[in-house]
Symmetry: C2
Subunit: 270 residues, 2 copies
């Protein structure tokens, strides 16, 4: 059986040093020349799970990005800080060319299954059926060239939220889109860590195009996702002092809020 | 000049080992027998700033709490992972009795000053004047005894949001309150890290009283706060699988959103 493209890309090779792994980042998960921050979050989650015993899922992953990560070889160091009855905490550090690129702490455990006594205050996003949304597979080749990871998954954007692509940003700073892997792979707690950073930054919709480097990104896995495409929402509350925060929610095909994230990013210079 | 109570409590003593500090947590910043997670976040921010040069403020602090921290002696290890032109990243680890209690990564830099080209989508909270709110200084002595940190600051709660205290939770899971130090100390980026975890958990308003241990807490300092009391809001979007997330915003006396945080906590057993 051929592994799904995503699983192949996040696969880690253990070294002879306990808790150490290597990986070769391919060009398929980049924006410009940098590896996507969400993809790196997934790699950190994957490394944490590989390092700790009896904790199958990353539940809370917080990463800081001191340096950009590029395609190519990298070494991943992990350290299990505690492995308790219900939760465990793992430190992960991704190093490339002697530069520390990503540092993360991961609280691991078992992802939830929705139950009748859950209390849900969040409102599910409104998004037309996938066939009525605007797919990134229709994006011009020069855009795909700049964002190679758009070759790995389809984003089907809300038709009212694509004005930015033709120079007419709405100024609302909100994006909603269907996300599905091109090879049909279903979501799991590791891949959801990529999904939370897959959409274009909301600054695109605020008239500030360009790359928005992530300083910090924290994601919570709130439930095991059902099979099928997921819905992703992005929004910001505040762009101030050259920085903005971006909140993301991921809803599965059963209408369950399966992941939440927030990142602090530097505002594109425009 | 006598230092403010808070500054005295977060003061660090350097050891002979570079990047290492000690601290003695006093009982004044506890809930039950545990040191408050926000106070520990402030200590982590303080340690990061002490360890790195030319970066005066913590901008993004993400902490995981593998073990509870108790009053008494602790050792704090810091490591500067990168110190770039604009941002620097520091790792902080708080160890007590050979247990790793708190691990944090801190992205440091210079906190923003609000400017005319900021884009603000957040809505300032509605809260009556402080004299019309319900102050925790009127709380029964047995409550203060359980939450000693309520001796350090006044919370003046929205009068519509205190039903939980008399056994009538609203079920909305939202809290809004004025916060000010009892000794009149103004806020700064370090103390704001405590403020984001100062209110009672929103689960109190959801009919699930009891202590809600924090697994992960990330805070962003979005601007230097103006002098005077601040307004703090808490809310949750989802209580699921025994866990809930709690979002917090802190607004200063000039109406500026100065801090944001989110935490993942375990639901009280009730």
């Amino acid at each position: 059986m051929v592994p799904a493209e995503f699983d192949d890309a996040v696969a880690l090779t253990p070294t002879d040093t306990p808790g150490e792994f290597t990986i070769t980042f391919d060009t398929g998960w980049t924006i410009g020349n940098g590896v996507n921050g969400g993809f790196l979050l997934a790699v950190a989650g994957q490394a944490a799970i590989a390092a700790i015993s009896n904790k199958p899922h990353p539940l809370a992953v917080s990463a800081h990005y001191p340096s950009a990560t590029h395609p190519g070889y990298a070494v991943i160091h992990t350290e299990v800080l505690r492995n308790g009855g219900t939760f465990g905490t793992v430190r992960v550090q991704i190093v490339q060319d002697d530069r520390i690129c990503v540092v993360a702490h991961v609280t691991c455990g078992t992802a939830a299954t929705p139950a009748s006594d859950d209390l849900i205050f969040a409102t599910p996003p409104h998004l037309p059926p996938i066939e009525n949304c605007i797919s990134t597979s229709m994006a011009p080749p020069e855009m795909i060239e700049q964002v190679p990871m758009l070759g790995r998954f389809d984003l089907a954007m809300h038709p009212d939220q694509v004005g930015w692509a033709v120079g007419k940003p709405s100024g609302r700073g909100e994006f909603t889109a269907w996300y599905q892997f091109k090879d049909g792979r279903d979501q799991d707690p590791i891949s959801l860590l990529q999904v939370v950073d897959a959409l274009m930054p909301v600054t695109m919709d605020l008239g500030r195009p360009g790359w928005a480097p992530t300083l910090e990104l924290t994601a919570y896995i709130r439930a095991l996702p059902a099979p099928g495409p997921v819905i992703v929402t992005h929004r910001t509350r505040l762009m101030q002092g050259g920085m903005f925060e971006e909140d993301c929610e991921v809803w599965d095909s059963a209408g369950v809020l399966v992941a939440q994230s927030r990142q602090l990013a530097a505002q594109p210079r425009g």
